[in-house]
């Protein structure tokens, strides 16, 4: 009888990892959503202008923080800081590998919006790259 019990419990142990795998597998898929990381592979030039003392400059600053640690080797990053009294709008200017230029109004879009716009074009480029077989 006791042997039977142990066998059952062993079976139970076997079942649980399968469930865990399924759950965590789903989680890891959700973590790969574009909001978590930005596709920076196709960017060649980034230019940001902002006044750090304006609350709306947050987007542009966080965008800079989203670039990977080796970003300065793969793309040209220029940042212009406006003086404290300046009322100019902050923006992010991008250039992609295929030559497309994008000027994003960072104040209106927010960081999620900016990333969405960047990824929209980056995904097109990555698909083209896959189709050409590089």
């Amino acid at each position: 009888m006791a042997f039977e019990m142990r066998r059952q419990s062993k079976q139970c142990h076997c079942i649980y990892p399968c469930i865990f795998d399924a759950v965590f597998g789903a989680l890891s898929i959700t973590l790969k959503l574009p909001s978590a990381a930005m596709i920076t592979k196709f960017l060649t030039e980034v230019k940001t202008v902002f006044n750090p003392f304006s609350a709306k400059a947050k987007t542009a600053r966080i965008f800079l923080a989203f670039l990977p640690p080796n970003a300065r080797q793969t793309m040209k990053v220029t940042t212009k800081l406006l003086p404290r009294v300046s009322r100019e709008r902050s923006f992010v200017q991008l250039k992609f590998k295929d030559g497309k230029e994008l000027t994003l109004d960072a104040e209106k879009l927010g960081i999620k919006g900016v990333i969405e716009e960047v990824d929209r074009h980056s995904r097109i480029l990555s698909r083209q790259e896959e189709l050409t077989g590089n």
């Binding site: 750090p52 304006s54 400059a57 947050k58 800079l64 990977p68 940042t79 800081l81 003086p83």
Partner: protein
């Protein structure tokens, strides 16, 4: 059943009421309750502190890391008159190590040059630190330091100290800690509610602080030369003078470090203002020299101005006197000439 002890008479009750301040309520063996208005025991303030002096009761839970970070930041802000804010964009640890090494080297050089110039040794360079902060907690620490100014600090009297007079009353802290004034207290929390600090917009994203123990433009200049070099005003060290600064990790790290602003003596400066503070020639001594020269010049002007009024008066009076004298002479002459005519 009648109580064994009769309730106190009116006279005794009045004596008991007088003694109330020093003694707690008197207990009776029976269920008889005196009709006097004694406070219940729970509301009497405790005669001894019920907590160690280093651990006063706090509003925010002290066992959390963020409460301790808040205390640490508040103390940092109170002890740092000059701090520079940087944004760090994904710096790696070798890059941080390299930058800190170069910074220390440059600051030590400033200290050595001050000693060589005959100024007293201060070793400020060792107190200068660059550290990453938690922005949200740092913002509320800034607000606590700038907006929360408790009027009455609870006096720290040590009853074991022989110099304390025996008649001195030890400040009683309420058991719920509602009259405490430390950074984690309820009063501090209420004081910063719904207020926004000038530095608040900077408190988002990855922020690092460079803190100086005193306002020293020389050290700030040395630090800016390393961290945010500008050709001309803050020249980067040459490859021959300081080859370590030109290492690849330091250079890649510095590209990702962005000078945002500074807080000097409680005032907020932007990038240009920070560079102006760093560009004060000759440090604080130079600034004092400039001030003294200006005041001396001003003093000279002032004495001239003050003297000029007296001089003017003197010249006017003197002119008038000579004029009167001349007139007097003339009148005497005319009188002398006219007198025979009348006669």
């Amino acid at each position: 059943m009648m109580p064994r002890i009769s309730p106190p008479s009116r006279a005794i009750a009045s004596i008991l009421r007088c003694k109330k301040a020093s003694k707690s309520r008197r207990h009776y063996a029976t269920a008889v309750t005196p009709s006097t208005s004694h406070d219940p025991i729970s509301r009497v303030s405790p005669p001894i502190a019920r907590f160690p002096p280093t651990q006063p009761p706090s509003y925010k839970p002290p066992e959390f890391r963020k409460s301790q970070l808040l205390r640490q930041y508040a103390s940092l802000i109170r002890s740092t008159p000059l701090m520079v804010l940087f944004q760090h964009n994904n710096l790696k640890s070798p890059e941080w190590t390299g930058i800190r090494r170069e910074l220390n080297k440059a600051l030590r050089k400033v200290d050595d040059s001050r000693v060589a110039a005959g100024l007293p040794t201060e070793n400020l360079g060792e107190g200068v630190k660059i550290q990453i902060i938690q922005t949200g907690i740092f913002e509320s620490a800034l607000k606590i330091v700038d907006f929360y100014k408790p009027e009455s600090q609870p006096a720290t009297l040590d009853p074991t100290d022989p110099s304390t007079p025996s008649s001195a009353t030890i400040p009683i802290v309420k058991p719920d800690g509602s009259n405490l004034t430390h950074s984690l207290s309820e009063a501090a929390h209420a004081a910063i509610n719904r207020k926004s600090h000038t530095l608040a917009p900077l408190m988002s994203g990855p922020i690092a602080l460079l803190t100086f123990p005193t306002v020293s433009p020389e050290h700030l200049k040395a630090a800016l030369c390393i961290l945010a070099p500008v050709p001309g005003q803050f020249p980067a060290p040459t490859r021959r003078a300081n080859p370590g600064w030109h290492d690849l990790p330091v250079q890649t790290g510095l590209q990702k470090l962005l000078l945002l602003g500074a807080r000097v003596e409680g005032k907020v400066f932007d990038t240009e203002g920070t560079k102006w503070v760093g560009g004060i020639n000759g440090g604080m001594e130079g600034l004092r020299g400039q001030l003294v020269a200006m005041l001396q010049g001003l003093g000279g002007h002032l004495t001239n101005t003050l003297e000029s009024a007296a001089k003017n008066l003197y010249f006017t009076v003197e002119g008038r006197r000579t004029m009167l004298e001349d007139e007097g002479k003339e009148s005497v002459d005319t009188k002398a000439g006219e007198a025979p005519k009348v006669e």
